[in-house]
């Protein structure tokens, strides 16, 4: 009798992947999403219990048993620097700010599925742009994996099911959009005419989650104390690709310009986590593997060679990104108050290694002054980060259907150096930037949210 229920629950969870639409983007990858997980060092794959689980582990949406809408603000400010020859010192970066909306809804099936299935929706939109795609010349100093990746829309929907025996499964989908198209301009009888044909095409990435309430060390009331969770998040990105054809604008034989690049990218990720919950305490620890070596990089050539032929167009620098492991730990203490109200205190830590190598290939460019090709330094900066986070919240219980949560993260970039080489990388020879760039800085991320039960 239990097996059909499990099968039905699995089916529901898998079907969720079929219709759920969601847009993962990098803000969650950098600072997390929701009222709880970012305060706990980005943990949650084994301990989320609300809309956070849509990102951290959709299987844990099955722990939701009430309707709730969460509204709030989150963002980050960046203080990043790059010092060395021909470097500016402080690198100018726009702060990230955005609105957060979360929804958690139990799906009231009857019979075997009663109180076993729930859905979640997680949304973040920057206040000034849905997606920011900034692809600069390689020699322009910037932290592209950190600053611009935070300027992106994020939407997620998922569903989770309690399969019985302490096992939970969930699925969701993440999506972003690629901009592709063409702009053709021509000189028709002495007047500019044009055809514009651009499309936003959705890209989707699946998220799958599993969790298991371990059958030992149970509390006196029989509830579980230990849980392990695992989450897979597929790769997702936003590319920009517009062909500008001005070859018929004048008598000059201009090439077709391929204006393209990868504006946003999150690598495939696998998360493992274990959590223990007892006496109002929750402690979680885990590790996230990020498959950065699959990252194609942001740059694309401006001129595409005709099919099956070689041409002398410039080739942008390729960067050999490395996979990374991100360890995380987080804790929460719930202090009960009368009438089911409570105060919640949270803290966490994670260490995010950089996937960018310490030595980069040079970027070829045409120098108008010398009328020849030169090598420019590739200033694609990034550094490993240590992040400590704190947060707190109030659940008003029977007093009012509201929760209030806030969190802050301080991410410190570990001091590191980066070089651009044309020949050997070890040792770097020659160093195009005339010396290594010293990288350092801090990121302060924050969020505040109001939850309404209904």
């Amino acid at each position: 009798m239990r097996a059909p229920g499990i099968c039905a629950a699995v089916t529901v969870a898998l079907l969720a992947a079929g219709w759920a639409a969601s847009a993962q983007a990098s803000p969650e990858d950098i600072m997390g999403w929701g009222p709880r997980s970012p305060a706990m060092g980005g943990t949650g794959a084994a301990c989320s219990n609300g809309a956070d689980a849509t990102y951290t582990n959709p299987a844990l949406l099955s722990r939701v048993h009430r309707n709730m809408v969460t509204l709030g603000l989150s963002g980050a400010t960046f203080d990043l620097s790059a010092t060395g020859p021909q470097l500016p010192g402080r690198v100018s970066v726009l702060p990230a700010k955005g609105y957060v909306v979360g929804v958690e809804v139990p799906v009231p099936f009857g019979g075997l599925l009663k109180d076993r299935v729930a859905a979640g929706f997680a949304f973040y939109t920057p206040t000034n742009a849905l997606v920011r795609g900034r692809i600069q010349y390689p020699e322009v100093p910037e932290y592209p994996l950190l600053a611009d990746r935070a300027q992106s829309l994020a939407i997620r929907i998922g569903a989770g099911a309690d399969l019985g025996y302490g096992i939970r499964a969930g699925a969701g989908v993440a999506a972003l959009a690629n901009l592709v198209g063409s702009i053709d301009v021509a000189n028709t009888a002495g007047t500019v005419t044009s055809r514009v044909d651009d499309k936003l095409i959705a890209t989707y990435a699946p998220t799958f989650g599993l969790a298991w309430d371990l059958p030992f060390d149970r509390a006196p009331d029989g509830s579980t104390r230990w849980r392990i969770g695992a989450t897979y998040r597929g790769s997702i990105g936003a590319t920009f690709g517009v062909n500008v054809d001005a070859s018929k604008l004048s008598s000059l034989n201009l090439p077709v310009f391929n204006i393209a690049g990868v504006a946003q990218y999150d690598p495939p990720e696998i998360v493992f986590e274990a959590a223990r919950e007892w006496d109002g305490w929750t402690v979680a620890a885990g590790v996230t593997w990020k498959h950065w070596s699959a990252y194609p990089g942001v740059f694309e050539p401006t001129i595409l060679c005709p099919a099956d032929t070689d041409c002398a167009a410039l080739t942008p620098p390729q960067i050999a990104f490395s996979d990374t492991f991100v360890p995380r730990v987080g804790a929460e203490k719930v202090l009960p108050l009368p009438r089911h109200a409570s105060v919640r205190l949270r803290a966490g830590f994670f260490y995010e290694p950089t996937p960018v190598p310490a030595a980069l290939a040079a970027s070829p460019a045409y120098d108008l002054a010398s009328q020849g090709l030169v090598n420019e330094p590739t200033r694609f900066f990034d550094a490993s980060r240590y992040s400590v986070s704190i947060g707190g919240g109030v659940d008003m219980g029977d007093l009012a259907p509201f929760t209030i949560d806030a969190w802050a993260q301080l991410q410190a970039l570990s001091s590191t150096t980066q070089q651009t080489c044309t020949g050997s990388f070890t040792p770097c020879s020659p160093d195009i930037g005339t010396g290594p760039a010293s990288l350092s800085g801090t990121v302060l991320a924050y969020g505040a949210m109001l939850g309404v039960r209904f």
Partner: protein, 452 residues
């Protein structure tokens, strides 16, 4: 104190405009949203409680009794002709669906709704053609886009529901810089690089609706939908040396292109609706939609060009024509006026059994073309549109233990005819000349809804 609470509650949906997200566009205006609404000619603003209320009238969400999840599909094939030749207007097709989550905040009925239309091929398409090129202005490209709506609603009194949200879509603004060396003999051997600074920016506009239940059988609705347009502004700057091969530069090239395109303009709308139930099984509805088409901006790209290529010191080599600077595009105004669209819809619960109910639906709407006759150089082709529709509905109350609510299946078919008429040009030498245009559109779709 209680009245103040009610007033505050009434203002909540308006405040929802501060955060609710919703992307409205045109496919729903033309082809309806969901099978029930489409089958009833779109005349449901005072008689809608499912996910489609996110479009027709968000206030209706507050009447939902339980969680509902809907999903379906529709396809509209457009057979539109000019001079007897099919214009090849792409079909509009995609997945439609949504959910309604009702509940209570304190003691006030409250609901959250989400609805979406996701096209099969792309989320949005921006297409701007030269203004003299004939195109079906209201059908060619404007309907090729995503629609995604999120709304809130409350019912401060049993006879009043208020709902609203904010609609938003994306506009694109991009600056492209290209630099290096252009090889005039071998363009693909040019040594060029580029950088991009592109933003998809937010465009927001409000949508607010109210429903008043005058009696048990008579309801009124008022809905406002804001104006929207999707802009694509791309500036391209080329700064390069120009030469023959890689042997240095003959001269320099400075090219600046500034393109501004307004696409998918959606005028603001006001809908007034009435729903009357002469019997327990019959709903008769009538809506009037005012559409502010006179504010319309045609999707013609405005281009400013600056081209500066000084002559080489020794003059231009043989075979190279000196470039000239073309004049900028002059966009001619479009003559377009406001219209009022009547919608008529009927729903009859024809069969009532213990285990199932059957519904028959029908509707009609008429949209007079807002675009004046194209007798000049522009060719924004349009015609009046009569749409008749029909639909079937099946409701299965509590069909299984797992599903304590109900399951509903709905289907629709809508046939629109655009009568063929001839447009006569004022200028006998017009390159396009006189033309006849007309056609028809078939729109079919199905929905499945699970209620809890």
């Amino acid at each position: 104190m209680r009245a103040a609470g009610r007033l505050l509650a009434a203002l909540l949906p308006v405040a929802a405009a501060c955060w609710a997200a919703d992307a409205r566009a045109n496919p729903l205006d033309v082809f309806g949203f969901g099978s029930r609404g489409t089958a009833m000619g779109g005349a449901v603003s005072a008689d809608v409680t499912d996910f489609s209320a996110c479009y027709y009238n968000p206030a209706g969400l507050a009447l939902a009794h339980g969680l509902e999840i809907s999903v379906g599909y529709f396809r509209a094939d457009q057979s539109l002709y000019m001079n007897g030749k099919n214009s090849g207007v792409d079909p509009v097709k995609g997945v439609v669906g949504g959910a309604v989550v009702p509940g209570k905040v304190f003691t006030l009925p409250f609901a959250f709704g989400v609805g979406f239309h996701i096209p099969d091929d792309w989320l949005t398409r921006v297409r701007a053609l030269p203004q003299d090129q004939p195109r079906w202005e209201l059908y060619d490209n404007r309907n090729q886009r995503l629609w995604f709506g999120v709304d809130l609603a409350i019912s401060p009194f049993p006879w009043l529901q208020i709902g609203g949200g904010v609609t938003f879509m994306a506009a694109t603004k991009a600056t492209l810089d290209i630099s290096g060396h252009v090889d005039l003999f071998g363009p693909t051997d040019s040594s060029l690089r580029h950088q991009v600074d592109a933003d998809l920016t937010l465009i927001a506009y409000p949508s607010i609706g109210a429903r008043i239940e005058a009696t048990k059988d008579l309801s009124f609705a008022l809905v406002y939908r804001g104006q929207f347009s999707m802009d694509l502004n791309v500036d391209a700057n080329v700064q390069a040396g120009v030469g023959l091969g890689r042997a240095g530069d003959l001269t320099t090239l400075l090219l600046a292109l500034q393109t501004d395109t307004v696409d998918a303009f959606l005028p603001q709308q006001v809908v007034g609706g009435i729903s009357y139930k002469p019997t327990e099984t019959l709903h008769t509805n009538f809506d009037l939609t005012w559409v502010n088409w006179s504010a319309y901006q045609p999707p013609v790209t405005r281009i400013m060009t600056q081209l500066n290529v000084p002559p080489p010191a020794g003059g231009w080599p043989a075979g190279i024509q000196p470039p000239t600077v073309p004049a900028p595009t002059v966009v001619l105004p479009i003559q377009i006026h406001d219209i009022v669209i009547p919608h008529l819809g009927v729903e009859w619960r024809a069969i009532t059994q213990r285990t199932w109910e059957g519904f028959l639906r029908a509707g009609y709407e008429f949209q007079k073309s807002p675009i004046a006759a194209q007798t000049g150089p522009t060719n924004y082709v349009d015609r009046d549109r009569h749409s008749v529709s029909a639909g079937l509905g099946l409701r299965l109350p509590a069909p299984a233990t797992l599903l304590p609510g109900d399951v509903r299946l709905d289907a629709h078919v809508q046939y629109s005819v655009l009568p063929t008429e001839t447009t006569t040009k004022v200028d006998a030498s017009d390159p396009v000349g006189d033309y006849t245009a007309g056609g028809h559109i078939w729109n079919v779709g199905m929905m499945a809804t699970v209620g809890f």
